[in-house]
């Protein structure tokens, strides 16, 4: 008991609140594990019998002036003055040896650093030991290190330039050989081919799924009408998995941090990123950096939660920068003061060079650049009341939205800002606005801003669009209103790489879907409507990644209605249903699309693969199905001209594949026939066996039935089949299929 009281008293004295100490978050200094063995094999491996000599807080200062006894105290005073600035010297911690013969100093001294508490903290329990380790010894080691680094090369005068070393380093330095040995060149070990999956002979795509404890990667083998397993691992991740934007890495989340996986044949761990209790991760678009996020709920619910974000270099695993603070600093703060940080906190500028990332917080936009990982121009942009920012997917242009203020006296504003110059390229003031949503087209050519405006009575809102043409001179803005401007807008989506967009508008349960184009043949400079499809059971839009095709999906409330639509021809290719579907994801090539029922429902969990035109390819059921993600592909190296040429001569190329397809389907049906034949034969064998046994037992059975002769019905009766037809009545009814 006494020990416990001691600890409590001590921690109170030190101002340590045990309830706030998260033991998981205590990080031991690098290279020192204080005897706590790590179960991590890599760390374990590096641990080459390093032990604490107890002299870690001593430094040796060389190149001091050699002084006689009279000046000893003066020099000591000078040294104390210098080193007291850098750390606290232990009492009697400065020792300058003196030559016993000449009484002259020897030109060096030892300095032992400490922190004042340490002396009070001896002989306590293990818990306190940890405290001590964490707060004090570590502190004094730090101080010694710090002092060494800061004072090394300190010029006392022209001839006396300090040479400072850690006392512990002396053994090592003494052992350095006199003669220089050329370092042995290590044989070149080729790294993993991270792009191997792209060279698949059948040009298939990969997808990762999580169900139950398992995470599995599959090839989508549409020809075989089934997925082909690549890699499976139970408990691969502790929360979810995510592909990097170009598909090179698969990131998994663990208690200790994040890890990325990839490689030629199977998935090997390529790098780990230490961040305890990481919750969310995000890659930069060029997948050079990984952002990890962790937030800790405060013990007092009124406090904001603590947020820690780290940015790592993906390939080297080095932490480039970390950000810590309360959640308020990473969000704009909702109206009620309750708002968590919205992920991703850091939004990366478009393009592959990963140059800038931006953070939105109250009244400020902080834009960082990745060369130094500091703010551009060393300061954030002040934009009062900004609520949303959005990068162009290709250029370093930031669009931002500031809502109305002062009860409408100050209009709302949408602006485009060039980074890093911070020049406003274009801005538009908007009146009586309730909300704005910004949608960039994937190649950064257009920006659509959906504007919700109040009606005159302010009781309801109606929506319209402001369309920015980014690539044209002066960035012209066009206003688009729907035919019926009171229609509610349910979904909006740009055609990837295209100039068209689709809108679901109108009232549930049967809204309309309209398609618009930013440049038709007749009208290059103006937006024009292509078509409106009336009364569709849809509430979400999924364009194919190559454009042209779109799935109008009725998720959730609509039970998973799917309509595969060709926007070039403006015709429906197929309608289908994946009952209760919750997610839809196109493969990166736009050839196949997966619809999934994840474990938000308990039933029918699993996924279905469809071809782009709505043919069901195969269906897989998995209980507790959590996630499905296609492995992204990096952009094609083919130039636009080359692609066009291929498209023109498609017939020539497709021959080869058609032949392959046919081979496979022949093979499949051959295999199938073979399998069926084998099954039939096996079954026949069973039946034969049963029949003969049945025959053998006939007499015994007869006995059991008191002599009743036969088991066979046909012998007892004479069967006559008499058929007659009677037409009584014919009625025709048209039956409306109830929805």
């Amino acid at each position: 008991m006494a020990a416990v009281v001691d600890i409590d008293a001590l921690s109170a004295q030190l101002g340590v609140n045990w309830s706030e100490v998260n033991l998981d978050s205590i990080q031991l200094p690098p290279g020192n594990n204080f005897g706590i063995e790590s179960d991590d094999e890599a760390v374990y491996h590096d641990d080459q019998s390093e032990f604490d000599t107890g002299f870690g807080n001593i430094i040796v200062v060389d190149h001091l002036p050699v002084v006689p006894k009279e000046k000893f105290e003066k020099l000591e005073g000078v040294l104390k003055k210098i080193y007291n600035q850098l750390g606290v010297i232990k009492e009697n911690g400065l020792w300058m040896p003196v030559d016993p013969d000449t009484k002259m100093t020897l030109g060096y001294c030892f300095i032992e650093f400490n922190t004042p508490q340490e002396t009070e903290l001896d002989c306590l329990t293990m818990v306190v030991y940890i405290l001590r380790v964490c707060f004090n010894v570590w502190g004094s080691l730090q101080e010694a290190q710090n002092a060494k680094e800061k004072s090394h090369g300190y010029k006392l005068d022209k001839t006396h330039i300090f040479a400072v070393n850690m006392f512990d380093d002396f053994d090592r330095l003494m052992n350095v050989r006199e003669e220089w040995e050329p370092p042995q060149a290590r044989p070149y070990v080729p790294g993993e081919n991270l792009q191997k999956w792209l060279t698949d002979e059948k040009a298939r795509d990969q997808l990762v799924i999580r169900s139950g404890p398992d995470t599995e990667v599959y090839w989508n083998d549409a020809r075989q009408k089934k997925p082909e397993p690549v890699h499976k691992r139970p408990y691969w991740t502790e929360s979810y998995v995510q592909w990097s934007p170009l598909g090179t890495y698969l990131v998994t989340l663990h208690k200790q941090g994040a890890a990325v996986w990839g490689g030629a044949d199977t998935f090997t761990r390529l790098m780990r990123y230490q961040h305890s209790m990481v919750k969310l991760v995000d890659f930069s678009p060029g997948e050079r950096y990984l952002v990890t996020y962790h937030s800790q709920e405060p013990s007092n619910p009124r406090d904001a939660s603590k947020v820690e974000i780290k940015v790592f270099d993906v390939r080297t695993g080095r932490m480039m920068r970390d950000f810590k603070g309360s959640a308020d600093e990473f969000s704009i703060g909702g109206p009620g003061g309750v708002a968590g940080a919205s992920w991703p906190v850091f939004r990366w500028a478009g393009g592959k060079d990963d140059k800038y990332f931006a953070k939105l917080s109250k009244n400020t936009i902080s834009v960082y650049e990745t060369e130094t990982f500091s703010l551009i121009d060393k300061k954030s942009m002040k934009v009062d009341n900004v609520v949303d920012i959005c990068w162009s997917p290709t250029d370093s242009i930031l669009s931002l939205f500031v809502p109305e203020q002062g009860g409408g006296n100050q209009p709302a504003k949408v602006a485009l800002v060039q980074i890093p110059s911070k020049v406003e390229l274009r801005q538009k003031n908007l009146f009586s606005v309730s909300d704005c949503k910004m949608y960039w087209q994937s190649s950064g050519e257009y920006l659509a801003v959906k504007v919700d405006r109040y009606t005159k009575t302010k009781k309801s809102t109606y929506s319209g669009f402001e369309l920015f043409r980014i690539k044209e001179r002066d960035i012209p803005i066009e206003v688009l209103e729907l035919d019926n401007k009171n229609d509610k807008i349910i979904a909006f989506a740009w055609e990837p790489k295209g100039h068209r967009f689709a809108v679901i508008h109108g009232d549930q349960p049967r809204p309309d879907v309209s398609f618009y184009s930013m440049k038709t043949a007749q009208n290059t400079g103006r937006v024009s409507k292509l078509a409106t499809l009336k009364a569709k059971q849809a509430n979400a839009l999924f364009w194919s990644p190559t454009g042209k095709y779109i799935i109008l999906a009725g998720l959730k409330g609509f039970n998973g209605q799917l309509e595969f639509f060709n926007v070039d021809e403006l015709e429906t290719m197929a309608t289908a249903e994946h009952f209760m579907a919750t997610d839809i994801e196109w493969d990166p090539t736009g050839r196949y699309v997966a619809t999934a029922v994840t474990s938000v429902h308990e039933m029918e969990n699993g996924f279905t693969i469809w071809s782009f035109n709505g043919n069901l390819v195969y269906r897989i059921l998995k209980d507790h199905f959590f996630q499905l993600a296609w492995r992204p592909r990096p952009p094609s190296f083919l130039t636009a001209e080359k692609e066009e040429e291929i498209a023109k001569n498609l017939k020539k190329y497709s021959k080869k594949y058609e032949a392959e397809d046919q081979d496979v389907s022949l093979l499949l049906s051959e295999q199938d026939r073979e399998k069926r034949r084998a099954l039939k034969e096996e079954w026949e064998k069973w039946v034969m066996q049963w029949k003969s046994l049945h025959e053998e037992e006939k007499l015994e059975r007869q006995d059991l039935r008191d002599g009743e002769v036969s088991d066979v019905e046909e012998d007892e009766y004479e069967a006559k089949e008499v058929e007659f037809e009677d037409l009584i009545d014919v009625t025709e009814e048209i039956v409306q299929e109830s929805m």
């Binding site: 039933m603 029918e604 099954l679 079954w683 049963w690 019905e713």
Partner: protein, 370 residues
């Protein structure tokens, strides 16, 4: 056989009122080919409403002209198997009736009930002939070859562990006694034995229940001869067991969403059928290589309003290829009982919704090719 069954205690309502022949109600059942070919058969089911509580068991007599149904209400009911006309009820049980069996000559009926009894009835008159009393619910009943023996399983209750009883059935009801010839105890007495049936030549008894294991017992010695392999066997409670007409093989359905076909003598697993919902009932076509699985989400777990969500379908599978052929929808609730007419040309299903649906196959059914 000729049918002149009149139940003296039976309701004197017009049979037509009881049997809702609903072909006019556009309630069409369909067998749809799962591979989306346009092979569709439209069968008009006969909807038989005679029970007020969920169905538990269905049984055709050997001739296939009578259908016996058991439900959680207390009265087993007899129907004409070709048009669904109700012939009468068997009154006397005081609890849910879980199972029944009819003798080969269609003269005797045995029923097992939660009122802790199994009763013998005269099929024709509806009279109770004998009552077997137990200390707990009777779960399943089965007549042996020759109808001189019956196997009855009982649940565990108040310290009584679940057991399999073998009773001798006397030729003359006057001579009937209640003593058990043989009592078999399941290794885990706290788990229900949902079904026990006779093996070939009455030499064995095959049982399956909540402990997921199928056991074959010797009826001479009472010894356990075989039990199903844990690896290949069911993973969750076995709900139903149906044997082939020649006692050579049998089919088990389980909550683990599979049905498995076994050799009755060697207990070799021959086939396995996987579906998406727990299986409550199984049946094998005597005519074609088809098996039917019925089931659905547990009634207590049905929270969605859409009936499609529950998958209350009778699913047809090809026996040999283990592939799904199609499904028959219609029940609003899980399917608890399935039975094939011995001629293989019709089948009936009983649901949690209290209905028996009688389906006569049309010619398309017999031409299904997969």
């Amino acid at each position: 056989m000729t049918m002149e069954c009149v139940n003296p205690e039976g309701l004197r309502l017009d049979a037509r009122q009881l049997c809702m022949h609903i072909s006019c109600m556009l309630n069409l059942a369909q067998i749809q080919n799962s591979s989306h070919q346009t092979l569709e058969t439209r069968m008009t089911p006969i909807l038989m409403k005679g029970h007020e509580r969920p169905l538990t068991f269905l049984r055709y007599n050997r001739d296939g002209d009578l259908l016996f149904s058991c439900a959680k209400d207390h009265t087993p009911t007899l129907w004409l198997a070709h048009n669904g006309e109700r012939l009468g009820t068997y009154r006397g049980h005081n609890g849910a009736v879980s199972c029944c069996d009819v003798s080969r000559d269609s003269s005797r009926l045995i029923t097992g009930s939660a009122d802790q009894t199994a009763k013998l009835w005269d099929v024709k008159s509806g009279k109770q002939l004998f009552t077997f009393n137990f200390g707990s619910s009777a779960r399943s009943v089965d007549f042996s070859v020759g109808d001189h023996l019956a196997v009855i399983t009982t649940d565990h209750f108040m310290g009584v562990s679940s057991a399999i009883h073998v009773k001798r059935i006397a030729e003359d009801p006057q001579d009937q006694v209640g003593d058990s010839v043989l009592v078999l105890q399941s290794p885990d007495g706290k788990k229900k034995i949902n079904r026990a049936v006779w093996g070939p030549l009455n030499q064995t008894i095959v049982s399956g229940g909540e402990d997921t294991v199928i056991r074959i017992w010797d009826t001479e010695t009472g010894k356990l001869l075989k039990q199903s392999d844990v690896e290949v066997g069911h993973k969750e409670a076995i709900t139903s067991l149906c044997k082939a007409a020649d006692d050579s093989h049998f089919l088990t359905g389980s909550h683990d969403k599979t049905a498995k076909l076994w050799d009755m003598r060697s207990l070799t697993l021959i086939k396995s059928y996987t579906t998406v919902v727990p299986v409550n009932a199984v049946a094998m076509s005597p005519l074609l290589n088809h098996v039917v699985l019925g089931g659905g989400q547990d009634a207590s777990a049905v929270t969605t309003t859409d009936h499609r969500a529950g998958k209350f379908e009778a699913k047809f599978y090809d026996t040999i290829l283990e592939e799904e052929i199609g499904g028959v929808k219609g029940h609003f609730g899980p399917i608890n009982a399935l039975a094939f007419n011995p001629d293989g040309k019709s089948f009936s299903s009983g649901g949690e919704d209290g209905y028996v649906r009688l389906h006569h196959f049309d010619s398309n059914y017999f031409n299904i090719k997969i």
